[in-house]
Symmetry: C2
Subunit: 342 residues, 2 copies
């Protein structure tokens, strides 16, 4: 494909990222936790790119969370350090974790049972690293308040954030009572970190991720406004079917995913500027669009014309794309390539 | 990751393909339509690899269907020809289609309206190609009996196949009556081509695709037996949660997709050898497994042990993987890399 200057000229379907919005989302989060005196450790799983990681860490390239070893290696290979692999230690991956621990100045693994601790101890680290010399060191406690995803509105989010913070801090007290000092505490989730409660200042770290893009789901939870969503799937009208009162568009589940299950009043996505339309269903490469009620005015949507979809779940939609097109005010300024696999 | 010899040693989650089953599925389809005297034009969208294409075309590397221009270019770049792009011609892709038509000995596009025909005529072909010298030539009629996906069992499938064949052949008669001769006719869908009716011998071509892998959905429709399914996602137990009566596994929607919506009695997949288990829900990288009824015997599923998931929809699951691990009787013999994007 020839290089294009404007999003309007992109081959569709295409994932486009509004860089100004993504930066604003990232800077807002950095500022929020800078003000609270809490370390932000952003999660990479939503985007899996170097460019977003750079923006989210404010250029430090330190202190990130990853969800796969593929991400861990990708960031380690590209100069990132202080990486937390937020996953109950999988035994088949102990050797890879040990190698990353030896390569990096800090690589954190998560265990949630005694057997995992035994597996770690079976593989002592080289180069005088800590889990070589004194067994295994407990660095901190990692909790994810995934229950914020059932919230509606700021007050409900804050109640969950307050409860998670309280439980985490109570656990820290128990550790101290058992003679274990100096451990860190970290909680996560984009909703709670978008509306932090004052108690969160007592935590060491937070680890949200989705906020770089946000999405329709986050706007419904109350984490953001719809206008903060930085990611879209661009699609074109490729068919008029008056006998079905439907448009066909060139975005199927291969470009959007079935995530969200079509539960929105507008179906599987919000069609920007067209609250009267619904993305009813998709096959691999086709989407069926119809009006929520009444007859479709096909003249408004000529064959070849563009529609812009706001995804229900940005993590799932981004995962479907081997390249993201990055724009500022509609002008393409970059393409980003995420890492994939495990 | 070090090269491994056995599927048991793969880093999970991993997509594994049983080469013997895939070959058997492909050879069965080739034989079925060879016997009927009908050209098989296999669809590439399920796998998007060169290796499967080679098996499905019986080594001829001719006569395939693709769902994206990325696939079209991928196969054209690798010596494939006679490619049908089965998509209502998207106007932004006319130039790319023209280039493929000029490069290949045969590249077929699909139009379903007059405007698309006008768009084609605006871009005459070079090198004495047909849509250069005499406008546009109608090569054939392409119909997809997607309604077979609502069938249960061979008899229902055959009824749909018979109806689709009849309607298509009646349309051919109308073309002849209008003085248009020599056009081909092609119908598709894995269910109808897995159980062809004798009338299908009057068609020129068929274009199924999923049959190379098959999946749980196809077995429920009646296209295949469950033991014909050639694709699995391998996952490991990474957590025991007795208070929830659940296992945690390292396969989330990033490796399986939410496709199918969890509608199976066993949830989002069938866990091979464990009809008593259900894949209840998934996050991006985690799956929650619980017994369909009663208490889970955790001793049967030690941390680190393998489970094998049969996907509901192979096309959607394969799409999530940048590499497929190919085995024969559990021994890894190859890795295949699909093309992605549009």
């Amino acid at each position: 494909m020839a290089t294009v200057e404007s999003v309007k000229d992109l081959r569709t379907p295409a994932l486009i990222i509004d860089l100004d919005k993504a930066r604003r989302n990232a800077e807002g989060m950095l500022e929020r936790f800078h003000n609270l005196g809490v370390q932000l450790r952003p999660h990479m799983k939503t985007h899996k790119t170097l460019e977003c990681a750079d923006i989210m860490t404010g250029g430090s390239r330190r202190c990130i969370v990853v969800s796969t070893l593929a991400e861990a290696s990708f960031y380690a290979d590209n100069g990132y350090d202080d990486i937390l692999y937020a996953y109950p230690l999988p035994f088949d991956k102990v050797e890879s974790c040990a190698e990353l621990s030896e390569r990096l100045s800090l690589f954190h693994v998560v265990v949630d049972n005694r057997l995992a601790l035994q597996e770690l101890k079976k593989r002592p680290l080289k180069q005088g690293k800590i889990w070589d010399t004194s067994g295994v060191e407990l660095t901190g406690i990692y909790a994810h308040c995934g229950n914020t995803y059932a919230c509606q509105g700021e007050e409900q989010i804050k109640a969950v954030a307050r409860e998670t913070t309280m439980i985490t801090l109570q656990f820290m007290e128990k550790l101290k009572a058992a003679g274990i000092h100096g451990t860190k505490s970290s909680i996560g989730s984009t909703p709670s970190c978008s509306h932090p409660v004052p108690d969160m200042a007592m935590l060491s770290e937070v680890h949200p991720g989705n906020y770089i893009f946000y999405d329709v789901q986050q706007s419904l939870i109350g984490s953001c406004r719809l206008e903060d969503v930085a990611v879209r799937v661009l699609t074109r009208v490729i068919g008029h079917y008056p006998h079905r009162n439907q448009l066909l568009v060139d975005c199927g589940w291969a470009a959007l995913t079935h995530d969200g299950g079509g539960r929105l009043p507008t179906g599987y996505a919000i069609i920007e500027g067209h609250p009267e339309l619904k993305l009813l269903s998709m096959t691999q490469e086709h989407g069926r669009v119809e009006p929520i009620s009444g007859k479709l005015d096909f003249k408004q949507f000529p064959l070849g014309s563009l529609l812009t979809l706001m995804p229900y779940h940005a993590c799932a939609t981004a995962m479907m794309h081997p390249v993201y097109f990055v724009h500022s005010k509609g002008k393409i300024i970059d393409t980003w390539k995420p890492t994939r696999g495990w």
